[in-house]
């Protein structure tokens, strides 16, 4: 709706005769300001109440840092000792080795720092998701925002942080999402909008990755003759898939070991394991083993297992809980995998 300046002036006037008074009405203030900048953020927020609840768990908080410091001191000491020895005996070789060592240590520290930051962010994400699930009455209705459980500006900040770390081709959707928010959108609508506009393209890419890698693994297992090759391929492809998924959702520095461990923990806590158990490989293999050889069927089974692992990691890394029931998503993945294998 286009409005000229004069019209805007008129618009800001209040016709007192039309203001509702009485029991359910609110009295009109004599002087007021129209705060148009706040239009997009109509919900009142009390920032003190909105701090994300930090985990109260302090279990073994000291263990990991202590282990890292001690290991670093130990490894650092050995490297320093070796380098000093070389410098004393062969200075022409010692200095380049010292430089390379310093470079490598710096790189390792940087990577480690990145890992720690990513880990912190992914932990924050888990807290946010569990908080969302707590207040979610069902998949579409959230409790009123008035009680300060969660508020629109806060969620916008959280989404901003999430999307900043996404790969560029996905993070560009964030401004479009932001501009799509209308003053009348409620909290659950803003969340849904983020899911549709920002998260869905990432989900599609993740699903493709999972199917692609599962198909590859199925192929390798089907044609390999040595069990060792199966094992190595499974290990390598699974690690690679987890790393790719982490990069896709904006946590590139997370190690695949950490992801594997955390995804399973998270799935067990959230009851996702039930969904995983429910979908047996029989779903995929039914009707397939009669058509193809046993070896190919084994490959397909390996593919399904890899897909399941990928999906568990996706659930862990995804910025929002899946609204759709998990078994149905897994079935979709299995169906597409089956199509790929048949074709």
């Amino acid at each position: 709706m286009t409005t000229s300046k004069s019209v805007m002036k008129q618009k800001d006037r209040v016709l007192t005769a039309k203001i509702i008074k009485g029991v359910v009405g609110k009295k009109l203030p004599e002087t007021f300001q129209t705060n148009q900048n706040d239009e997009k953020l109509p919900t009142k927020v009390n920032n003190d109440d909105l701090e994300i609840t930090k985990s109260t768990s302090v279990k073994r908080k000291w263990f990991f840092p202590a282990l890292v410091i001690l290991s670093s001191l130990f490894v650092g000491g050995i490297i320093l000792d070796v380098v000093l020895n070389i410098i004393q005996t062969r200075p022409w070789l010692g200095y380049p080795i010292a430089l390379v060592s310093v470079g490598m240590i710096s790189l390792a520290s940087y990577r480690f720092r990145e890992f720690l930051l990513s880990r912190k962010r992914v932990q924050k994400l888990q807290q946010f998701k569990s908080r969302l699930m707590e207040i979610q009455l069902d998949h579409s209705i959230l409790k009123q925002t008035e009680h300060g459980e969660i508020a629109l500006p806060e969620i916008q900040d959280i989404f901003k942080e999430f999307s900043e770390h996404l790969p560029l081709k996905f993070s560009v959707n964030y401004p479009a999402f932001l501009s799509s928010i209308e003053p009348h959108h409620e909290l659950d609508e803003v969340i849904k909008l983020y899911e549709i506009m920002v998260l869905t393209p990432v989900d599609v890419a993740a699903k493709q990755l999972i199917i692609q890698d599962a198909t590859k693994l199925s192929g390798i297992v089907a044609i390999s003759t040595l069990p060792l090759i199966d094992t190595v391929a499974t290990f390598w492809l699974t690690q690679r898939l987890l790393k790719k998924l982490a990069t896709l959702y904006g946590y590139p520095a997370l190690s695949s070991w950490y992801l594997m461990k955390s995804s399973f923990n998270s799935a067990l806590i959230a009851g996702g394991s039930e969904a995983l158990i429910q979908l047996s490989t029989d779903d995929l293999l039914s009707g397939l083993s009669e058509k193809i050889s046993t070896r190919i069927a084994q490959g397909a089974a390996a593919g399904v297992l890899s897909a399941r692992l990928g999906f568990t990691a996706q659930v862990f890394l995804r910025h929002l809980p899946f609204a759709e029931k998990q078994p149905s998503i897994l079935k979709q993945i299995s169906k597409e995998l089956k199509q790929q294998l048949i074709s």
Partner: protein, 484 residues
Amino acid sequence: MKGIFIKKSISNLLNETQKQLKKASSQRIQIGVTGLSGSGKSTFVTSLITQLLTANSVAKLPFVELINENRWLGAKLSNHENGEYMRFPYEESVHNLQQLDSWPNPTTRESRIVLELTYIAKSSIWSKFWPERTLEIELIDYPGEWLSDIPLLDLDYFAWSAEISTNLKPFRDFDEAKVFKKKILSLHKAIQSGKDEPVSENSIKYLQVVEAYKSWLRAIHDNTNQYVILQPGRFLSPGHLENTPLLNFFPWDLNQFPLNEECSIIPLLKNRFRTYQKKVITPFLTDFFSGCSRQVILVDLVNAVNGGKEEVNKLQQILKNVFKIHDYGTNNWLRRLINPNIEKILVATSKADLLPPDQHRKMQLLLSSLLTNEIDTLKQKGCSYNALAISSIRATENRVISENGHDIQAVCGRLEQVADDQENWVTVIPADFPESVKLLEVKNGHGLQNLKFSPPQNWRLGKDALPHIRMDQVIDFLVGDLMG
């Protein structure tokens, strides 16, 4: 020569195959737009068409997943109407909005319009060969007054007469009511005296009573904001039945004007009533509801809340009657009659723009609370249901007013009719909307009853987005699943 013939044959074959493939890849659904008079059906249909037509250009529809996934190709008005029904006057409605600065004209008779939506199917084996698909949606609009006729199917003539006489009691001080009483009294006297025996439906006195009754109904309809069941609904919006003998009857209150059973007017009125049931109400239900797999039920909840608890209760009763049509789980006469196959029902409280955004949730909660049992039944039968607070065309803007450090939500809009010395732009702080009937006091309305805002100024089709509230969610709910 032979070569040319073969080439032509192959070309024809290819064209025919292409046509058949296109036909096979398109589907058609009917969407019924239901709602009482004044609930904004015409505006809803106009907005829905406009949003779909401009989805690729100016419309803001972030909730339509198809558009976000870049699978939306376009929409156009189809020419496939079979001519049996009146076409929805879309162009006239747009003209009203663009040129006359007025809302679309209210619906006076049943009308339909077909839209052709083209999209790209999601990846599947079939879509690799034929990705482009078409979905035809037929929107059916009809006067809300016709909805009040549904309960008539359960009544006989005298039961209806007694019921309508009670319903219309509060409006007996209308001039038209006095005229009606006078005319019926005159007819009664004539019958009693035996002068005009036997009374025919073409006699002047009889027709005068019919006309007086129609005028009374019209006067109530035009002069009150309350929910009143005005029957027969066709007396207010006759559609193509105007001036036909089908509408030549009126209620006869035997308590007020006693008659002998042998009196000839009784079979006449009874017969006319039965014919109305059989030839007007039944075909309306079969034509309208049997083909619609998706329904939109529009409710003007703000108006009802303005009227207080009694009005909301009346609205609830009317909505329950509407839902009876969809109660296809029980083996009742309606089920046998119309056998509807409703997949989705959207109940929308229109005119959400009269309230600031922080009150929309309450509107939805109140609406859902009015229909708790009906929703449960529908869900049990596997029918999808959604309740939304919408505004087909948003006429107001939101304002945040600061008062003593507190922000108050308000709406600002241009009034439709104002006195010369008044500003037409007003900012209003509406009262808190009750989220349940319990919170609604009998005497306290919502206080917006006199405010009628004008449609958005300077809007041009195709150049500006038609402002709305949640029409994108409406579109996604109604057709999103069909375009997978």
